[in-house]
Symmetry: C2
Subunit: 224 residues, 2 copies
Protein backbone atom coordinates (compact mmCIF):
# COMPACT_ATOMS: atom_id res chain seq x y z
CA UNK A 1 0.00 0.00 0.00
CA UNK A 2 2.76 2.41 0.96
CA UNK A 3 4.39 1.99 -2.45
CA UNK A 4 1.13 2.72 -4.31
CA UNK A 5 0.62 5.88 -2.28
CA UNK A 6 4.19 6.97 -2.97
CA UNK A 7 3.50 6.42 -6.67
CA UNK A 8 0.42 8.62 -6.53
CA UNK A 9 2.32 11.36 -4.69
CA UNK A 10 5.12 11.20 -7.28
CA UNK A 11 2.66 11.22 -10.19
CA UNK A 12 0.82 14.25 -8.82
CA UNK A 13 4.18 15.99 -8.42
CA UNK A 14 5.21 15.13 -11.99
CA UNK A 15 2.02 16.66 -13.40
CA UNK A 16 2.59 19.78 -11.32
CA UNK A 17 6.25 19.91 -12.44
CA UNK A 18 5.35 19.61 -16.14
CA UNK A 19 2.91 22.49 -15.82
CA UNK A 20 5.52 24.54 -13.98
CA UNK A 21 8.17 23.77 -16.62
CA UNK A 22 5.86 25.23 -19.31
CA UNK A 23 5.30 28.30 -17.16
CA UNK A 24 9.05 28.84 -16.77
CA UNK A 25 9.48 28.39 -20.55
CA UNK A 26 6.85 31.06 -21.24
CA UNK A 27 8.65 33.36 -18.84
CA UNK A 28 12.01 32.49 -20.47
CA UNK A 29 13.56 31.54 -17.16
CA UNK A 30 16.15 28.76 -16.97
CA UNK A 31 15.74 26.72 -13.78
CA UNK A 32 18.62 24.85 -12.12
CA UNK A 33 17.97 22.35 -9.32
CA UNK A 34 21.08 22.03 -7.08
CA UNK A 35 21.24 19.01 -4.83
CA UNK A 36 23.68 17.38 -2.43
CA UNK A 37 24.29 15.96 1.05
CA UNK A 38 24.11 18.35 3.97
CA UNK A 39 27.36 20.29 4.23
CA UNK A 40 28.76 19.68 0.75
CA UNK A 41 29.09 23.42 0.20
CA UNK A 42 26.10 24.17 -2.04
CA UNK A 43 25.55 27.61 -0.52
CA UNK A 44 29.21 28.63 -0.67
CA UNK A 45 29.35 27.40 -4.28
CA UNK A 46 26.26 29.44 -5.09
CA UNK A 47 27.64 32.59 -3.44
CA UNK A 48 30.81 32.37 -5.56
CA UNK A 49 28.81 31.46 -8.67
CA UNK A 50 26.47 34.42 -8.29
CA UNK A 51 29.46 36.73 -7.87
CA UNK A 52 30.50 35.68 -11.38
CA UNK A 53 27.09 35.51 -13.07
CA UNK A 54 25.53 38.70 -11.80
CA UNK A 55 24.48 41.19 -12.99
CA UNK A 56 24.82 39.96 -16.65
CA UNK A 57 22.76 36.86 -15.90
CA UNK A 58 19.87 38.11 -13.79
CA UNK A 59 19.56 35.41 -11.15
CA UNK A 60 17.12 34.61 -8.34
CA UNK A 61 17.46 31.84 -5.76
CA UNK A 62 15.00 29.68 -3.87
CA UNK A 63 16.61 28.05 -0.83
CA UNK A 64 15.09 24.98 0.76
CA UNK A 65 15.80 24.07 4.36
CA UNK A 66 13.86 22.33 7.07
CA UNK A 67 14.76 25.01 9.59
CA UNK A 68 16.74 28.29 9.77
CA UNK A 69 17.27 31.05 7.21
CA UNK A 70 21.08 30.85 7.42
CA UNK A 71 21.58 30.04 3.75
CA UNK A 72 19.19 32.70 2.51
CA UNK A 73 20.99 35.29 4.64
CA UNK A 74 24.35 34.30 3.14
CA UNK A 75 22.99 34.41 -0.41
CA UNK A 76 21.40 37.82 -0.05
CA UNK A 77 24.90 39.30 0.25
CA UNK A 78 25.36 38.58 -3.48
CA UNK A 79 22.57 40.96 -4.43
CA UNK A 80 20.42 38.19 -5.90
CA UNK A 81 16.77 38.01 -4.97
CA UNK A 82 16.35 35.14 -2.51
CA UNK A 83 13.32 33.34 -1.13
CA UNK A 84 13.50 30.75 1.61
CA UNK A 85 11.28 27.69 1.96
CA UNK A 86 11.30 26.14 5.43
CA UNK A 87 9.67 22.74 5.23
CA UNK A 88 9.22 22.34 8.99
CA UNK A 89 5.72 23.78 8.55
CA UNK A 90 5.02 20.86 6.16
CA UNK A 91 6.11 18.14 8.58
CA UNK A 92 9.86 18.61 8.08
CA UNK A 93 9.78 17.46 4.48
CA UNK A 94 13.07 16.11 3.24
CA UNK A 95 12.77 17.46 -0.32
CA UNK A 96 11.22 20.30 -2.27
CA UNK A 97 8.15 19.51 -4.35
CA UNK A 98 6.90 21.33 -7.44
CA UNK A 99 4.01 23.09 -5.72
CA UNK A 100 6.32 24.64 -3.10
CA UNK A 101 8.71 25.86 -5.77
CA UNK A 102 5.79 27.34 -7.70
CA UNK A 103 4.56 29.28 -4.64
CA UNK A 104 8.01 30.79 -4.18
CA UNK A 105 8.67 31.43 -7.87
CA UNK A 106 5.50 33.50 -8.12
CA UNK A 107 6.95 35.90 -5.54
CA UNK A 108 9.62 36.94 -8.06
CA UNK A 109 9.13 39.18 -11.07
CA UNK A 110 10.10 36.40 -13.48
CA UNK A 111 10.03 38.76 -16.47
CA UNK A 112 13.21 40.35 -15.15
CA UNK A 113 14.97 37.07 -14.32
CA UNK A 114 17.05 34.83 -16.63
CA UNK A 115 18.07 32.12 -14.20
CA UNK A 116 16.31 30.68 -11.18
CA UNK A 117 18.49 28.46 -9.00
CA UNK A 118 16.79 26.19 -6.49
CA UNK A 119 19.07 25.08 -3.66
CA UNK A 120 17.34 21.91 -2.56
CA UNK A 121 17.34 20.43 0.94
CA UNK A 122 20.58 18.70 1.92
CA UNK A 123 19.76 15.07 1.19
CA UNK A 124 21.24 12.67 -1.40
CA UNK A 125 18.09 10.56 -1.60
CA UNK A 126 14.60 12.05 -1.67
CA UNK A 127 15.10 15.27 -3.66
CA UNK A 128 16.20 13.14 -6.65
CA UNK A 129 12.70 11.68 -6.90
CA UNK A 130 10.90 15.02 -7.10
CA UNK A 131 10.87 16.94 -10.38
CA UNK A 132 10.42 20.64 -9.63
CA UNK A 133 10.03 21.82 -13.21
CA UNK A 134 13.77 22.40 -13.64
CA UNK A 135 15.72 22.51 -16.90
CA UNK A 136 18.85 20.97 -15.41
CA UNK A 137 20.13 19.39 -12.24
CA UNK A 138 23.55 19.74 -10.69
CA UNK A 139 24.70 17.49 -7.88
CA UNK A 140 27.45 18.66 -5.54
CA UNK A 141 29.71 16.10 -3.89
CA UNK A 142 32.44 17.18 -1.51
CA UNK A 143 35.76 15.35 -1.36
CA UNK A 144 35.25 14.68 2.36
CA UNK A 145 32.27 12.40 1.66
CA UNK A 146 34.00 9.36 0.14
CA UNK A 147 34.44 8.25 -3.47
CA UNK A 148 31.66 5.68 -3.33
CA UNK A 149 28.71 8.03 -2.88
CA UNK A 150 27.66 8.03 -6.58
CA UNK A 151 27.39 4.24 -6.42
CA UNK A 152 25.53 4.30 -3.10
CA UNK A 153 23.08 7.04 -4.10
CA UNK A 154 22.89 6.48 -7.86
CA UNK A 155 19.53 8.07 -8.70
CA UNK A 156 20.65 11.60 -7.90
CA UNK A 157 23.77 11.24 -10.02
CA UNK A 158 21.92 9.45 -12.85
CA UNK A 159 19.41 12.26 -13.28
CA UNK A 160 21.93 15.13 -13.14
CA UNK A 161 23.20 17.15 -16.11
CA UNK A 162 26.41 18.13 -14.34
CA UNK A 163 28.29 17.40 -11.14
CA UNK A 164 30.58 19.46 -8.94
CA UNK A 165 33.35 17.92 -6.86
CA UNK A 166 33.79 20.54 -4.15
CA UNK A 167 36.35 21.21 -1.39
CA UNK A 168 39.23 20.16 -3.69
CA UNK A 169 41.53 22.27 -1.47
CA UNK A 170 41.20 19.58 1.23
CA UNK A 171 42.47 16.76 -1.01
CA UNK A 172 45.99 17.12 0.39
CA UNK A 173 44.74 16.15 3.86
CA UNK A 174 42.44 13.32 2.86
CA UNK A 175 42.70 9.77 1.70
CA UNK A 176 40.34 10.54 -1.17
CA UNK A 177 40.89 9.53 -4.80
CA UNK A 178 39.32 12.31 -6.88
CA UNK A 179 39.83 10.40 -10.14
CA UNK A 180 37.96 7.44 -8.69
CA UNK A 181 35.11 9.72 -7.58
CA UNK A 182 34.82 11.12 -11.12
CA UNK A 183 34.99 7.59 -12.53
CA UNK A 184 32.16 6.53 -10.19
CA UNK A 185 30.03 9.51 -11.20
CA UNK A 186 30.56 8.67 -14.87
CA UNK A 187 29.85 5.01 -14.24
CA UNK A 188 26.37 6.01 -13.12
CA UNK A 189 26.03 8.79 -15.70
CA UNK A 190 28.64 8.64 -18.50
CA UNK A 191 27.53 11.86 -20.19
CA UNK A 192 27.93 14.53 -17.55
CA UNK A 193 30.79 16.93 -16.95
CA UNK A 194 32.31 16.90 -13.47
CA UNK A 195 33.78 20.21 -12.30
CA UNK A 196 36.49 20.03 -9.62
CA UNK A 197 36.34 23.19 -7.56
CA UNK A 198 37.09 24.75 -4.22
CA UNK A 199 34.32 27.22 -3.54
CA UNK A 200 35.98 28.67 -0.41
CA UNK A 201 39.34 29.15 -2.18
CA UNK A 202 37.61 30.17 -5.44
CA UNK A 203 39.52 27.61 -7.50
CA UNK A 204 38.27 25.90 -10.64
CA UNK A 205 35.05 27.89 -10.81
CA UNK A 206 35.35 29.22 -14.37
CA UNK A 207 34.54 26.01 -16.31
CA UNK A 208 31.52 25.44 -14.08
CA UNK A 209 30.24 28.99 -14.50
CA UNK A 210 30.83 28.78 -18.26
CA UNK A 211 28.84 25.56 -18.43
CA UNK A 212 25.94 27.12 -16.55
CA UNK A 213 26.05 30.29 -18.66
CA UNK A 214 25.95 28.12 -21.81
CA UNK A 215 22.93 26.19 -20.56
CA UNK A 216 21.07 29.38 -19.73
CA UNK A 217 21.77 31.07 -23.05
CA UNK A 218 20.98 27.83 -24.89
CA UNK A 219 17.44 28.01 -23.54
CA UNK A 220 16.92 31.75 -23.70
CA UNK A 221 18.39 32.31 -27.16
CA UNK A 222 17.58 29.08 -28.98
CA UNK A 223 19.53 28.45 -32.17
CA UNK A 224 17.55 29.29 -35.28
Amino acid sequence: MEINIQKRVLEANENEAERLRKYFAEKKVFVLNMMSSPGSGKTETLVKTLDRLMPETRTAVIVGDICTTNDADRLKSTGAEVTQINTDQFGGDCHLAAHLVEQCAREFDLDSIDLLIVENIGNLVCPAEFDIGEDARTVVLSVTEGEDKPLKYPLMFRLAQSAILNKADLLAYLDFDADLAVKNINEVNPEIPVFRISATKEEGLDPWVEWLRGEVSGKLEPKA
Copy 2:
Protein backbone atom coordinates in the same frame (compact mmCIF):
# COMPACT_ATOMS: atom_id res chain seq x y z
CA MET B 1 -4.16 13.71 2.29
CA GLU B 2 -0.44 13.13 1.94
CA ILE B 3 0.12 14.16 5.55
CA ASN B 4 -2.56 11.78 6.85
CA ILE B 5 -1.02 8.90 4.94
CA GLN B 6 2.43 9.77 6.27
CA LYS B 7 0.93 9.70 9.76
CA ARG B 8 -0.50 6.24 9.20
CA VAL B 9 2.83 4.96 7.88
CA LEU B 10 4.63 6.40 10.92
CA GLU B 11 2.05 4.97 13.34
CA ALA B 12 2.32 1.51 11.81
CA ASN B 13 6.11 1.76 12.13
CA GLU B 14 5.86 2.83 15.76
CA ASN B 15 3.73 -0.17 16.66
CA GLU B 16 6.18 -2.46 14.90
CA ALA B 17 9.10 -0.75 16.67
CA GLU B 18 7.53 -1.15 20.12
CA ARG B 19 7.02 -4.86 19.50
CA LEU B 20 10.59 -5.16 18.29
CA ARG B 21 11.93 -3.29 21.34
CA LYS B 22 10.25 -5.85 23.60
CA TYR B 23 11.74 -8.68 21.57
CA PHE B 24 15.24 -7.18 21.90
CA ALA B 25 14.66 -6.74 25.65
CA GLU B 26 13.72 -10.43 26.01
CA LYS B 27 16.85 -11.38 24.11
CA LYS B 28 18.93 -8.98 26.27
CA VAL B 29 20.33 -7.20 23.26
CA PHE B 30 21.10 -3.48 23.40
CA VAL B 31 20.30 -1.77 20.09
CA LEU B 32 22.07 1.37 18.90
CA ASN B 33 20.77 3.33 15.90
CA MET B 34 23.62 5.31 14.26
CA MET B 35 22.61 8.10 11.93
CA SER B 36 24.27 10.89 9.94
CA SER B 37 24.68 12.58 6.58
CA PRO B 38 26.31 10.60 3.79
CA GLY B 39 30.07 10.60 4.22
CA SER B 40 30.30 11.66 7.87
CA GLY B 41 32.40 8.61 8.68
CA LYS B 42 29.86 6.30 10.35
CA THR B 43 31.45 3.16 8.93
CA GLU B 44 35.01 4.16 9.82
CA THR B 45 33.84 5.10 13.33
CA LEU B 46 32.15 1.72 13.65
CA VAL B 47 35.21 -0.19 12.45
CA LYS B 48 37.37 1.51 15.10
CA THR B 49 34.65 1.12 17.76
CA LEU B 50 34.27 -2.60 17.09
CA ASP B 51 38.06 -3.04 17.36
CA ARG B 52 37.73 -1.77 20.95
CA LEU B 53 34.46 -3.46 21.96
CA MET B 54 35.04 -6.93 20.60
CA PRO B 55 35.20 -9.69 21.72
CA GLU B 56 34.17 -8.64 25.28
CA THR B 57 31.00 -6.99 24.00
CA ARG B 58 29.60 -9.39 21.45
CA THR B 59 28.45 -7.13 18.67
CA ALA B 60 26.53 -7.55 15.43
CA VAL B 61 25.87 -4.89 12.82
CA ILE B 62 23.05 -4.19 10.39
CA VAL B 63 24.12 -1.82 7.61
CA GLY B 64 21.56 0.11 5.61
CA ASP B 65 22.34 1.44 2.16
CA ILE B 66 20.33 2.07 -0.95
CA CYS B 67 22.93 0.36 -3.11
CA THR B 68 26.30 -1.42 -2.75
CA THR B 69 27.69 -3.66 0.01
CA ASN B 70 30.83 -1.50 0.50
CA ASP B 71 30.15 -0.73 4.16
CA ALA B 72 29.30 -4.32 5.08
CA ASP B 73 32.51 -5.50 3.45
CA ARG B 74 34.56 -3.01 5.50
CA LEU B 75 32.82 -3.98 8.74
CA LYS B 76 33.30 -7.71 8.26
CA SER B 77 37.04 -7.18 8.70
CA THR B 78 36.38 -6.51 12.39
CA GLY B 79 35.07 -10.03 12.97
CA ALA B 80 31.57 -8.81 13.84
CA GLU B 81 28.58 -10.46 12.25
CA VAL B 82 27.24 -8.11 9.60
CA THR B 83 24.03 -8.05 7.58
CA GLN B 84 23.35 -5.59 4.78
CA ILE B 85 19.98 -4.11 3.88
CA ASN B 86 19.83 -2.59 0.41
CA THR B 87 16.69 -0.52 0.12
CA ASP B 88 16.81 -0.23 -3.68
CA GLN B 89 14.53 -3.26 -3.80
CA PHE B 90 12.03 -1.24 -1.74
CA GLY B 91 11.98 1.76 -4.08
CA GLY B 92 15.28 3.28 -2.86
CA ASP B 93 13.94 4.02 0.60
CA CYS B 94 15.79 6.82 2.33
CA HIS B 95 15.56 5.34 5.84
CA LEU B 96 15.36 2.00 7.63
CA ALA B 97 11.99 0.99 9.05
CA ALA B 98 11.31 -1.37 11.96
CA HIS B 99 10.09 -4.29 9.82
CA LEU B 100 13.32 -4.28 7.76
CA VAL B 101 15.46 -4.24 10.89
CA GLU B 102 13.42 -7.10 12.32
CA GLN B 103 13.94 -9.22 9.19
CA CYS B 104 17.70 -8.73 9.45
CA ALA B 105 17.89 -9.14 13.23
CA ARG B 106 16.26 -12.55 12.99
CA GLU B 107 19.18 -13.74 10.86
CA PHE B 108 21.48 -13.38 13.88
CA ASP B 109 21.67 -15.71 16.88
CA LEU B 110 20.61 -12.95 19.27
CA ASP B 111 21.22 -15.16 22.32
CA SER B 112 24.94 -14.82 21.71
CA ILE B 113 24.88 -11.06 21.03
CA ASP B 114 25.04 -8.19 23.55
CA LEU B 115 24.96 -5.24 21.21
CA LEU B 116 23.30 -4.75 17.85
CA ILE B 117 24.39 -1.61 15.99
CA VAL B 118 22.27 -0.42 13.10
CA GLU B 119 24.13 1.84 10.69
CA ASN B 120 21.25 3.74 9.12
CA ILE B 121 21.13 5.19 5.61
CA GLY B 122 23.14 8.39 5.17
CA ASN B 123 20.45 11.05 5.53
CA LEU B 124 19.99 13.71 8.22
CA VAL B 125 16.22 13.90 7.74
CA CYS B 126 14.05 10.83 7.22
CA PRO B 127 15.77 8.22 9.45
CA ALA B 128 15.03 10.45 12.48
CA GLU B 129 11.30 9.90 11.98
CA PHE B 130 11.47 6.10 12.02
CA ASP B 131 11.84 4.28 15.33
CA ILE B 132 13.50 0.90 14.71
CA GLY B 133 13.12 -0.49 18.23
CA GLU B 134 16.46 0.92 19.36
CA ASP B 135 17.56 1.66 22.94
CA ALA B 136 19.67 4.66 21.97
CA ARG B 137 20.51 6.83 19.01
CA THR B 138 23.85 8.35 18.14
CA VAL B 139 24.17 11.02 15.48
CA VAL B 140 27.52 11.54 13.75
CA LEU B 141 28.40 14.98 12.42
CA SER B 142 31.68 15.59 10.64
CA VAL B 143 33.55 18.86 11.01
CA THR B 144 33.46 19.37 7.24
CA GLU B 145 29.68 19.76 7.26
CA GLY B 146 29.28 23.17 8.93
CA GLU B 147 28.41 24.15 12.50
CA ASP B 148 24.78 24.95 11.71
CA LYS B 149 23.60 21.44 10.84
CA PRO B 150 22.05 20.72 14.29
CA LEU B 151 19.89 23.84 13.88
CA LYS B 152 18.96 23.01 10.27
CA TYR B 153 18.13 19.35 10.94
CA PRO B 154 17.01 19.53 14.58
CA LEU B 155 14.85 16.41 14.85
CA MET B 156 17.74 14.00 14.44
CA PHE B 157 19.78 15.79 17.10
CA ARG B 158 16.80 16.23 19.44
CA LEU B 159 16.07 12.49 19.54
CA ALA B 160 19.67 11.35 20.02
CA GLN B 161 21.23 10.11 23.27
CA SER B 162 24.74 11.03 22.16
CA ALA B 163 26.54 12.77 19.33
CA ILE B 164 29.91 12.30 17.70
CA LEU B 165 31.84 15.13 16.09
CA ASN B 166 34.05 13.25 13.65
CA LYS B 167 37.06 14.14 11.45
CA ALA B 168 38.50 16.39 14.18
CA ASP B 169 41.92 15.88 12.54
CA LEU B 170 40.75 18.16 9.70
CA LEU B 171 39.96 21.10 11.99
CA ALA B 172 43.36 22.67 11.29
CA TYR B 173 42.48 23.03 7.60
CA LEU B 174 38.90 24.24 8.00
CA ASP B 175 37.09 27.37 9.01
CA PHE B 176 34.96 25.34 11.44
CA ASP B 177 34.25 26.30 15.04
CA ALA B 178 33.96 23.01 16.94
CA ASP B 179 32.80 24.73 20.14
CA LEU B 180 29.99 26.39 18.21
CA ALA B 181 28.97 23.04 16.72
CA VAL B 182 28.80 21.51 20.21
CA LYS B 183 26.85 24.54 21.44
CA ASN B 184 24.38 24.13 18.56
CA ILE B 185 23.93 20.43 19.33
CA ASN B 186 23.27 21.23 22.98
CA GLU B 187 20.91 24.04 22.05
CA VAL B 188 18.71 21.45 20.36
CA ASN B 189 19.38 18.75 22.97
CA PRO B 190 20.98 20.06 26.20
CA GLU B 191 21.40 16.66 27.81
CA ILE B 192 23.58 14.71 25.43
CA PRO B 193 27.31 14.15 25.48
CA VAL B 194 29.23 15.13 22.33
CA PHE B 195 32.37 13.12 21.62
CA ARG B 196 35.05 14.78 19.50
CA ILE B 197 36.91 12.11 17.61
CA SER B 198 38.97 11.33 14.55
CA ALA B 199 38.05 7.83 13.50
CA THR B 200 40.74 7.61 10.81
CA LYS B 201 43.49 8.82 13.19
CA GLU B 202 41.96 6.88 16.13
CA GLU B 203 41.87 9.95 18.36
CA GLY B 204 39.36 10.62 21.13
CA LEU B 205 37.66 7.25 20.81
CA ASP B 206 37.94 6.09 24.44
CA PRO B 207 35.23 8.33 26.03
CA TRP B 208 32.81 7.38 23.27
CA VAL B 209 33.49 3.67 23.61
CA GLU B 210 33.20 3.95 27.40
CA TRP B 211 29.83 5.68 27.03
CA LEU B 212 28.55 2.96 24.73
CA ARG B 213 29.87 0.19 26.99
CA GLY B 214 28.11 1.85 29.93
CA GLU B 215 24.82 2.03 28.06
CA VAL B 216 25.04 -1.63 27.08
CA SER B 217 25.90 -2.88 30.57
CA GLY B 218 23.22 -0.61 32.05
CA LYS B 219 20.62 -2.50 30.08
CA LEU B 220 22.06 -5.99 30.33
CA GLU B 221 22.96 -5.87 34.05
CA PRO B 222 20.36 -3.55 35.53
CA LYS B 223 21.19 -2.12 38.94
CA ALA B 224 19.48 -4.02 41.78
